[in-house]
Amino acid sequence: MAFLKLENVTKEYKTDAGGFLALSNVSFELENGEFVVILGPSGAGKTTLLNLLGGMDTTTSGKIILDGKEISNFNEKELTYYRRSDIGFVFQFYNLMPNLTALENVELATEICKNALSPEEVLTSVGLASKFKNFPAQLSGGEQQRVSIARAIAKNPKILLCDEPTGALDYITGKTILQLLYETSKQQNKLVVVVTHNQALKEMADRVIYIKNGQIEKDEKNKKPKPIMEIEW
């Protein structure tokens, strides 16, 4: 059985103008340690998919099964617990608490997790050993995103979900962040899902899922992923 399995996932939003099908019959299977890129233009349903995987919203029909547990059946309380213990979320705009230091921002996540890793060690591993006591305003964008990644990793989740993690960063910094995410998936054998509209990222992924108009357009495996530093965009 696959680590993460989506079976005919459909999400319909009710609007004043009637129903709107954001996702229809989406199915795929992902494995532990995979680095997956979900590609699609804006409005394709990426955010909806991310919301469903991240336990931030519920499906209209279909199943999502992670590590043998059917999360599409979860009630609100179970979803909160799922977000807390199984999901590490990396935001496009970092979403750090401005009034907490780098270390404290990581502690913000680990404090409520049972199997959390040491915040100091994780921050060191993302290269911020000297910035523990810095507030977000005293960090560059890339450094802030590293704190955000450290916050996600330190929870020791089952999946890392990343929403346009390089969207707010410059080219070089973006690459180092992707490198960091890639290494995390390989070294810690974690499933990392990156949602983006940047076509260039498909070359570095083990798996690329193309999404368009709420449907899976293509789902391909990349036998020889290119090292991120060799990719240009």
């Binding site: 991310l50 919301n51 935001f91 979403n95 409520i112 507030f135």
Partner: protein, 603 residues
């Protein structure tokens, strides 16, 4: 076609509906209280003035123990000279004396009851006497006893019986006299005793006259004990005593009428209290409106930037925010007016337990209402205009970039490692936030201090009034103050907490994505609100102490020492209770936060 700009303005209203309604409610309570309390003194003065005119209340009462009005060869001449001086219809002669019969003190009037021109009686029930053994009796009250209609009354007193021509009387009517306005005990002429009954005998041709009641021909002069009136009365007293040969002490004025003058004194106290609290309410309300509007504009930064880039003019952009506060003020004022009218009536009616109050003449006086609403409206429009102007005058490019989040930094408490290191990050974050956003902290704390002072003052006034057995009117006033200050405080706290939650929408969404459960997210936001409330409530205690010393001194009534010790605790506890209630009510707002807000860019 409906203007799209108008449509977008309407949506802005809808987005900030809670804030709009809270602001409106604050203005209702504030304007209602201010106009209601403010108008009480004016209402009493006006109604008493009308009563003074309609009953032709006497301004002077010459009590002649000497033979000035009877038994003297000059008596008729003296009486005629009074009539000549003041006018026939403004002078009334009567016999008035107090008798102790079977342990009760009777005030007995004998006069021409059919032709009372001065101090007109109001017939509550029954009819005027038609035969000599019929009498009128003053209506009973707390301090005064009375008889039933048609009751047989036997009064045995040789002097009285000689004058009245009998011992047995029948009550033909029950009356109310302007001379007996107070419902408490009224002192009699017999040393140390109060009047128990007051009866009126119809003796048109009574030979013995003890009293002359004089009403000033110029009825407009009175003006609820105006300064002019006081001077005239004093002057007349001098004049009468010198030309007419009556000792000055035997000329009584309304200032010596305990009932009427104490009503005036109480009304003035209410007026004094009103002025102080109206000013204080006004300050708190203005501050709340000010901080609400500045924070609203901050949140609207993105909208304003968008409108600017589209080429809308500064004033057009500002107009929607001016309309927002204008509408909240006008609607609030419209509802506040009847609230105020009711409050005026309520306090006026509470005077009724102590006084035979003239009928409440309904009708609206706009004085306090207009002034207080006007000030609030002006302050709100000016604040909104200038804060908004500062914002719209920026270059659109600058407005489009989100306002950089305030940089986190170490706060002073971190210099105490012993204390700081023991805190969990939740408290660290909370304390940093509280101390970092100084203006937010300041506004919240000052609003809370103001509310605490108001509630504590109400409670303190109540303590004193109860201890000093003051009139029901003052007690009611204290109760009204507590109620209105309490509601205002609750609204102020709710408003601030609501704004706090809106401003931190993104933080809340992020915490939810990180897996914080509802209780933890609420705790994260509420901790700060509780800390700010507690600081405000605690600082309110010394300030209330100082304020109350001032108030009690100003109204010349009660003292800070007369405030129960537990009142000082109840006040702040009440504030925390309001905070707690507000946070319970606002829980839904936090819990319903859309987690997608964490994915969006800063706006």
């Amino acid at each position: 076609m409906k203007s799209r700009y108008f449509k977008s303005a309407l949506r802005m209203f809808r987005k900030h509906l809670t804030r709009f309604l809270t602001l409106m409610a604050i203005i209702i309570v504030s304007v209602g209280f201010m106009s209601g309390l403010g108008e009480v003194k004016g209402k009493i003065d006006t109604n008493f003035n009308n009563y003074y005119i309609s009953q032709h209340v006497s301004d002077l009462n010459i009590k002649s123990e000497s033979a000035f009005l009877s038994f003297s060869p000059n008596a008729e001449k003296n009486k005629q000279s009074l009539k000549d001086k003041f006018g026939e219809e403004n002078v009334m002669f009567a016999f008035c004396n107090d008798y102790e019969i079977d342990g009760n003190i009777y005030r007995v009037y004998m006069m021409d009851l059919e032709n009372i021109t001065v101090n007109k009686l109001t017939l509550v029930s029954g009819i005027l006497p038609t035969v000599d053994d019929e009498i009128l009796v003053a209506a009973g009250s707390k301090g005064l006893k009375s008889f039933d209609l048609r009751q047989e009354v036997t009064l045995e007193n040789s002097q009285l019986n000689m004058l009245s021509g009998g011992t047995t009387f029948y009550v033909s009517g029950i009356v109310q006299s302007p001379m007996l306005m107070i419902k408490d005990k009224e002192p009699s002429f017999i040393e140390g005793k109060n009047i128990d009954y007051c009866i009126y005998l119809n003796r048109p041709k009574n030979a013995i006259i003890t009293d002359a009641y004089i009403a000033l021909p110029d009825r407009a002069l009175f003006g609820a004990f105006s300064e002019n009136y006081k001077a005239t009365i004093n002057q007349l007293k001098e004049e009468l005593s010198s030309t007419l040969s009556v000792p000055k002490e035997q000329i009584l004025s309304l200032y010596e009428n305990y009932g009427i003058f104490s009503l005036h004194t109480y009304a003035s106290k209410v007026g004094d209290i009103a002025i102080i609290f109206v000013i204080f309410f006004l300050l708190v309300t203005a501050l709340v409106v000010f901080s609400t509007m500045t924070r609203l504009l901050d949140e609207e930064r993105g909208q304003i930037a968008c409108l600017k880039t589209l080429g809308f003019g500064n004033f057009k952009i500002l107009s929607r925010y001016l309309l927002f506060i204008f509408a909240a003020s006008i609607f609030g004022g419209a509802v506040g007016l009847p609230v105020g009218i009711f409050l005026t009536y309520f306090i006026y009616a509470s005077f009724d337990t102590q006084y035979f109050m003239p009928n409440f003449i309904s009708g609206v006086s706009f004085g306090y209402f207009g002034i207080t609403l006007g000030i609030i409206l002006c302050a709100a429009l000016i604040v909104t205009f200038f804060t908004g102007l500062k914002m719209v005058k920026q270059k659109p490019a600058r407005l489009l970039t989100p306002k950089a989040p305030k940089a986190g930094k170490k706060v002073i408490l971190e210099r105490i490692p012993f204390f700081w290191n023991r805190l969990s990050f939740k408290y660290k974050s909370c304390l940093r936030n509280v101390l970092l956003f100084k203006s937010r902290f300041f506004m919240t704390v000052v609003s809370l201090v103001g509310s605490t002072v108001l509630v504590l003052s109400g409670l303190g006034l109540l303590d004193n009034t109860i201890k000093l057995e003051a009139g029901a009117a003052l007690i009611m006033l204290a109760v009204a103050l507590i109620a209105f200050a309490g509601i205002l405080s609750a609204l102020v706290i709710y408003n601030l907490a609501n704004i706090n939650i809106s401003e931190r929408n993104r933080e809340i969404a992020t915490l939810m994505v990180l897996g914080y459960n509802n209780k933890e997210v609420c705790g994260y936001i509420y901790r700060e609100i509780y800390i700010m409330s507690a600081v405000g409530a605690l600082l309110g205690i010394p300030l209330a102490y100082w304020f109350m010393s001032f108030v009690f001194g100003f109204i010349d009534f009660g003292s800070v020492g007369g405030v129960n010790w537990f009142t000082w605790i109840i006040g702040p506890i009440l504030m925390m209770l309001f905070t707690f209630l507000s946070t319970i009510l606002l829980r839904k707002k936090i819990v319903k936060t859309d987690m997608n807000a964490s994915l969006k860019s800063l706006e």
